[in-house]
Amino acid sequence: MNIEELTIESLIKGYKDKQFSVTEIIKLHLERIKYHDKDLNSFITVTEKEALEEAVKKDKMLSNGNTDHPLFGIPIGVKDLFVTKDIKTTAASNVLKDFTPVYDATTVKRLKEAGAIILGKLNCDAWAHGSSGENSDFGPTKNPWHTDYTPGGSSSGSAASVAASFTLASTGSDTGGSIRLPASFTSTVGLKPTYGLVSRYGIIAMASSLDSIGHITKTVYDNAIILNVTAGTDGMDATVVPNKKTDYLKNIIKDIKGLRIGIPKEYIDKGLDADVKIIFKEAVKVFSRRGAQVEEVSLPHTEYAVACYYIIQPSEVSSNLARYDGIRYGNDRTFFGDEAKRRIMLGTFTLSSGYYDAFYKKAMQVRTLIKKDFEKVFENFDVLVAPVSPTLPWKLGDKVNDPLKMYLSDILTVSANLSGHPALSVPAGFSQDKNLPIGIQIIGPHFSEHIIYNVAYAFEQETLYYKQKPNLI
């Protein structure tokens, strides 16, 4: 059994067929982390003791034939933005470096109840502020495909851990692209669900109207298995829309003949790296080969999305981070890193008297126009397909001294956060020169994740990129 080839799907079957025990599998993954993660820095905390204890419990259940849980014995990682009861949770910031939550986030609770075993807490940009993992107070995570390069952010550790086969799934959050970008940079599958599908309860808030709670896996099928567990109301998050959850596996294998796919021209027109453009054009051909109808569409307000996002998000950040005063928990505000300070101040400025109308209110109006762009296109198309990043993964250090340059990496992802639309990043190939991963994203109408998975599955089974794995040193 090759640990790299394991998926949630194959592991569940392996347990049922008694091919191995849960303890064997958990030990295997923990050893791999012990051996390789010093080169990648994807974990902030590894919960070896707790994971092995849980594995023993699961093996008892296994011997009693009690394995019905959908994630029975599956090793997972949790982004350190999600509170985990009695397990240190830092948000990758020195403000919370000694913080131990007293409850579990809903997502964590549901994954545990479904049988998953948490191997540890994953590194990310502090407070989820970043696109590269370089804003972590615990050191940057490296890209398993090429350790001089970023794995993308802010869910840097989540993507790296799945790509490196340390976990079979890792949770993440996507406020401006923070799941899709790292997934596309590591050749993994990353979902940003519809805003309002998955509860945000227990996830350290970044921008409350933009935060979307998702996850990264090796395959599309695995990704849908996880969403079946995390989606739906929980009585703790007033922004989760009732009765929208569905069975994400039901029609995943259907063919996509006649499906109408739109390619937003503003995402292709300017500024795509040559490699990204080539890969994207090849990817689009795959959908046509599978019988889908592919046509160009327009999202006219695309060029304003970054400006709109970098007003609304910091404004909400400045409010959400006001609670960190070191009184009830954590260290005081002198422990904030530079990026956090930048975003808090930017948001304070855009919300301040005399500037609120020109910035925040204006941005909220542009947000309406961006949302309407999508709604108009979805009147005639089932999904949209677009690149995730205009560039290849960049070298660690390349953008750290230029915050605005870093913000512009989000240009193709932020619109879906502003409008609330779901989007899935899937592997689409590798660059010619250095074999760096490139992904594409499939964007759908609100609550259409089951359609997105169907399209993604067809693409994945045609291209089989998930079979390629990085060489860990």
Binding site: Y310, I327, K341, I344, L369
Partner: protein, 95 residues
């Protein structure tokens, strides 16, 4: 656009040294000049969007039996407590 970094830092409850004031003022000015491009967009009669779900007035029963943090848990992560309370700096002076 000129950003009054001292005023903003005070409003944001952040302490900056003079080096940081210079650095952040420049970086924030660059960013604000970029986001200013939103002024190119015609937003006459456009309703602002605060959140995208369309949900309004979501509430639950006013039931105090629903679990909340007990006192011990609430105090668990503070660095300064006394007699089951958070201890903070004095805000009132003795006359």
């Amino acid at each position: 656009m000129k950003i009054n970094i001292k005023k903003i830092a005070k409003l944001a409850n952040l302490t900056l040294n003079s080096e940081e004031e210079v650095k952040f003022e420049k970086q924030l000015t660059d960013i604000v000049n970029y986001i200013d491009k939103l002024n190119e967009v015609n937003t006459t009669a456009v309703e602002p969007t605060a959140q995208v779900t369309g949900l309004v007035n979501v509430s639950r029963e006013d039931n105090s039996a629903i679990s909340s943090l007990n006192q011990e848990d609430a105090l668990k992560n503070t660095k300064s407590k006394h007699n089951g309370l958070f201890k903070v700096k004095a805000i009132l002076e003795e006359k």
